[in-house]
């Protein structure tokens, strides 16, 4: 079901390319948490946590953890220069008022029009939406990083999400182990392809029809 570390890092590396100097970025758990490792030095990026940190740094070295300095998942982090603390209301105010330049999230399903389902599997897992709806609906750019297919081999990029939605028409980009899609008003556009795959393979594994970018790029990393 899961992807290997190498592939997960490739996805994270591609997502990192979207991040520009000075941006405020919120990362979900899983693959998104690998993104900071792939930012070139020289880019200053501020990472946002829903519990009230603007300017979150990497994990501390073992033994240096501070139980009062943790990310929204409850794991120890550090601070960047220029960081600040706020309460959760303000942290979500930043989200709702569009101050988050990019959020990078996992997903269960994404539709061709950018609908996102990532918070619930009815009858199975009902964990609550947490901050997923706020982020998906309000971040300036929502990037989904996920396996291309679920454990049954079915495309997670779907015509219509069958799982309950997190937010409608919110996803701008989908990055999987096979390819990168942009969500455009005309539908999905294949913009990048990982070098082990062909466009035909991707068509077979993707439930939704997609266009191909004129500047289609092959990712060799």
């Amino acid at each position: 079901m899961g992807l290997g570390a190498e592939i997960r890092n490739k996805i994270a590396k591609r997502a990192a390319e979207e991040i520009e100097h000075g941006m405020l970025v919120n990362l979900g758990i899983g693959i998104p948490s690998l993104v900071p490792n792939h930012l070139p030095s020289g880019k200053t990026v501020m990472f946002h946590a829903e519990n009230g940190i603007t300017g979150m740094g990497p994990s501390p070295v073992k033994g240096q953890e501070d139980s009062n300095l943790c990310n929204a998942g409850g794991y120890p982090v550090t601070l960047q220069e220029g960081a600040s603390y706020c309460d959760s209301a303000t942290a979500f105010g930043m989200i709702r008022s569009g101050k988050i330049d990019i959020t990078i999230l996992g997903a269960l399903q994404v539709s061709g029009s950018g609908d996102l389902a990532n918070w619930i599997v009815p009858g199975k897992r009902v964990p609550g939406m947490g901050g997923a709806m706020d982020l998906a609906a309000k971040a300036k750019k929502v990037i989904v990083v996920m396996n291309h297919c679920d454990k049954n081999g079915s495309s997670k990029i779907v015509e219509v999400c069958t799982l309950p939605l997190t937010a409608k028409s919110c996803v701008q980009m989908v990055i999987t182990e096979m390819a990168v899609f942009e969500v455009t008003p005309e539908g999905l556009l294949l913009s990048d392809i990982f070098s082990h795959y062909s466009v035909d393979e991707i068509r077979v594994r993707t439930e939704v029809q997609f266009g191909i970018s004129e500047s289609l790029r092959t990712l060799t990393y």
Binding site: A49, G74, D87, M133, D134
Partner: protein, 233 residues
């Protein structure tokens, strides 16, 4: 000897008189961080039941407010997620526990609104999502549909502070601030568990996060008595 000028500094035993069956308790904390450990234990020891709890999440089974969920004292929860506490999910599934989920930012604002004496707030987060919209009132502002999300208050609010002074002025530690300043404002009675109680005038007036007027009682903390997930092997 610290002057107890406002008679707010007290002990856990005194506080227990406020704990009653069926009451609503609001708690600070985010994944257990910033949840007052001594007050959680006092609630468990008091054996009160049929509680309504309001807070960000349900911590972990043995961490934070999760301990009160685990001890089956809770009838109803208003939270944004329960993902880290399987007991909450289990009790919900078997019908022992009723849960109202609110998007995290909406929940934070509902708590703040309660504390600030507002009736509620307007937000469009979740307005097109059935589980959030439910049968809530809506209104149109500039042609856009907003949910009317109502304010939340509690009989008792419990928070965990880094330092308190005798007026109840509070500062928090790093990301343990999270929902604590919001929750501190929204209790009819607010009890702060403080790692340190300092003399009046010692906290920088510019740096005080929760003005003491929102705090009714202060108890000294013995610190966190659970093991964090990342400390467990």
């Amino acid at each position: 000897m610290l002057a107890n000028t406002f008679q707010k500094i007290t002990e856990i035993d005194y506080i227990k008189r406020f704990f009653k069956d069926g009451m609503t308790i609001m708690y600070g904390g985010f994944g257990g961080i910033g949840t007052p450990p001594g007050l959680v234990d006092a609630i468990i020891e008091s054996k009160i039941k049929e509680l309504t709890l309001i807070g960000n999440d349900t911590g972990f089974p043995d961490i934070g407010i999760g301990k009160i969920v685990t001890s089956k004292q809770v009838k109803r929860l208003i939270v944004s997620h329960i993902g880290s506490n399987p007991n909450a999910g289990k009790f919900m599934t078997n019908g022992e526990l009723e849960i109202e989920f609110s998007p995290q930012g909406t929940l934070a604002e509902r708590i703040r609104a309660g504390g600030m004496g507002l009736g509620g707030i307007l937000t469009d987060v979740g307005a097109d999502v059935e589980v959030v919209r439910r049968n809530k009132q809506t209104c149109e502002v500039d042609g856009k549909t907003f949910l009317i999300e109502t304010a939340l208050t509690a009989d008792v609010s419990i928070v965990h502070a880094e330092k308190a002074d005798p007026y109840g002025n509070l500062i928090f530690s790093k990301s343990a601030r999270n929902t604590n300043p919001l929750v501190a404002m929204a209790g009819k009675i607010t009890i702060a568990e403080a790692e340190e109680i300092v003399p009046l005038g010692e906290l920088d007036p510019e740096g005080i996060i929760t003005p003491g007027v929102f705090v009714d009682y202060i108890i000294p903390s013995k610190g966190v008595n659970w093991k964090w997930v990342w400390e467990q092997k």
